[in-house]
């Protein structure tokens, strides 16, 4: 895939949506990498199309509650917590 596949503007836009600040050299680096990733996905075009499992419809569960996770377990991988909440930076 040519370098034109992804423009620096698109990278900046995606970074803004993801609330990530990028320096100019990072924009440049990601522009190249985005192109490579998209090119890699084009490989999928070579995979023959298959129909999905036709019988697989209406997979549902009854409206019955199950025990939730214990809160300590739910929070244990969070870098920061406060009084039972997940804690993160300011997001506007």
């Amino acid at each position: 895939m040519s370098d034109d596949a992804v423009s620096p503007e698109e990278v900046r836009h995606v970074a803004e949506l993801a609330r990530i600040d990028l320096a100019e050299d990072e924009v440049e680096a990601f522009t190249g990498q985005f192109g490579e990733i998209l090119a890699a996905f084009e490989t999928l075009d070579e995979v023959p199309e298959v129909d999905r499992e036709a019988d697989l419809t209406n997979v549902m569960r009854p409206d019955e509650s199950r025990d939730p996770l214990e809160r300590e377990r739910a929070l244990e991988n969070a870098p920061e917590t406060e009084e039972g909440y997940f804690k993160g930076p300011n997001v506007s």
């Binding site: 993801a18 419809t57 569960r61 409206d63 019955e64 509650s65 199950r66 996770l69 739910a74 506007s92």
Partner: protein
């Protein structure tokens, strides 16, 4: 659209509003996992790997949410397609732990529905373009820095709400005033409560986004109800978010209508933007939204197979809806429109009324259910659902009145109030307060005594003073402990005095 035409002059601006109404479906569990939906006391108590978006966790659709959606579809006379499916709506914000929301995009579960409303005596049909299922995000708290979103120091996240089932109901831009919006929301929530899929009392169960634009009158040919797509697209609109009540919707949109009108009159352009309704300040404020439609990169949710509800939608039944019931009550029980409206506003009230009206006089039943019972409940800041286990007792009380065992006044002021305040049953109160209607002999004796004790009043009555007879009636009522029938006492007194 069936309606009288909207009056306008050439230079007038016509208000055009469309709604996206999010309602919480009354299920026991979340839409894609078995976590309970009931409000928790503490944050992050009703969470699991699915609604926390942990790697490898897979969503499984809640049958109860689908059933609720089908009920709504039937009630708004929508098309429920053969097959419906789910999409991922991608955006980065910590209220969604997966970085996407599971929703429906091009194949919603309900399409092309409608709902009839009455505004100032006018019947109107509002088109509902679509209604789809989706999951609710979690809740954020912006802490420190004065509490504002921009100035906050950090964010606290609670995922108890994440994954709660929502139905998003999208209307056509059919509204021409904030008052119409309010009437629609009232009718819609009434219908949803009848269906048993929604609880208006639940905190955060209703959230409304409204699109509002002002169309110059000269661009409209004929009826302002019929505005062409070109004129609609030419006008910039604002999307007002954070509306959570019928009244809030009317206030927010009245504010936004005035704000746009003033800007246009001063020659300023309306910016197409999202605005936040600040309920406490009573204003809308601009809110920067980074995403455009294409940025959401909708794609099919491969973890959820397609849904075919066509086969079992016939099995899902819906009750008689409020508007139909209102009309039937007027015809079948001879009620006024006002009484019928009051009695059908909640299914529990209407059911109770019918239960009583089938056996006793429908007018008496209407007075007792709509005025006395609802009045006393309203006075106590409660409602019929809180006294569901007492309705059999209220029914027995109405029976006592209908059979003239006790007076209506005592039934209301002593028995009903006592029942609601102290929890006693009607029979206990009637016998404790000795309210059973006095036998005729006792009333007759009281009448004779009153005449004997009050010769001056008797003379006044004989002289034609009607005020005096009321005094005597009062005396008799006092002697019988209020249990005699005042009309009967009046008749007995006159018979006795006038011989």
């Amino acid at each position: 659209m069936t309606a009288r035409t909207v009056q306008r002059g050439e230079d007038d601006l016509v208000t055009v509003i469309g709604l996206e109404v999010h309602v919480q479906l009354e299920t026991a569990t979340k839409i894609f996992c078995g976590c309970p939906t009931e409000p928790a006391d503490e944050p992050n108590e009703n969470v699991c790997p699915v609604c926390l978006g942990l790697p490898g966790a897979l969503p499984v659709l809640n049958e109860g949410a689908v059933e609720s959606a089908v009920r709504i579809g039937k009630a708004i006379d929508a098309t429920i397609p053969e097959e419906t499916r789910f999409h991922r709506k991608n955006y980065y914000y910590p209220d969604l732990p997966k970085n996407f929301q599971i929703t429906q995009y091009d194949e919603p579960i309900c399409a092309d529905g409608e709902l009839e409303i009455t505004v100032e005596g006018d019947r109107r049909t509002v088109t509902i373009e679509r209604a789809h299922l989706e999951e609710d995000p979690g809740s954020l708290q912006h802490v420190g820095g004065g509490g504002g979103i921009d100035s906050a120091e950090y964010t606290l996240v609670d995922y108890n709400r994440a994954g709660v089932p929502l139905m998003e109901i999208v209307t056509a831009p059919d509204f021409r005033s904030p008052a119409e919006v309010r009437a629609f929301l009232a009718e819609l929530t009434e219908v949803l409560e009848y269906l048993g899929v929604f609880d208006a009392e639940r905190d955060g169960s209703l959230r409304v986004d409204a699109n509002l634009s002002m169309i110059p009158g000269e661009e409209i040919e004929g009826d302002a109800r019929e505005i062409g797509t070109d004129a609609l697209e030419a006008a910039n609109r604002t999307e007002v978010k954070n509306i959570s009540s019928h009244r809030g919707a009317e206030k927010a949109l009245a504010y936004e209508e005035t704000r746009q009108k003033n800007a246009i009159e001063r020659g300023r352009a309306i910016e197409q933007e999202t605005r936040h309704w600040d309920e406490s300040r009573g204003i809308t404020v601009s809110m920067r939204s980074k995403e455009e439609e294409k940025d959401y990169r909708y794609f099919e949710e491969a973890d959820l197979p397609p849904l075919r509800v066509a086969d079992w939608k016939e099995e899902i039944s819906i009750p008689e809806l409020p508007s139909a019931r209102r009309e039937r009550f007027q015809g079948e029980y001879g009620l006024s429109e006002e009484a019928a409206s009051k009695l059908t506003s909640r299914k529990e009230v209407a059911d109770f009324y019918e239960d009583v009206a089938r056996e006793y006089d429908p007018d008496l039943a209407a007075t007792w259910v709509a005025d006395e019972l609802l009045g006393e409940l309203n006075y106590r800041g409660t409602e019929i659902t809180a006294v569901e286990d007492r309705l059999a007792e209220v029914r027995r009380l109405i029976a006592l009145v209908a059979d003239e065992e006790i007076t209506a006044k005592n039934a209301k002021e002593v028995v009903l109030r006592g029942m609601l305040d102290d929890g006693d049953d009607p029979e206990t109160i009637v016998s404790r307060e000795d309210l059973g209607k006095t036998d005729e002999g006792e009333v007759q004796r009281a009448v004779e005594e009153a005449i004997e004790d009050n010769p001056e009043a008797v003379a006044d009555v004989e002289g034609g003073d009607d005020g005096a007879i009321n005094f005597l009636v009062g005396q008799v009522m006092g002697k019988t402990g209020g249990s005699a029938d005042p009309g009967e006492v009046n008749r007995l007194l006159r018979a006795e005095i006038e011989g």
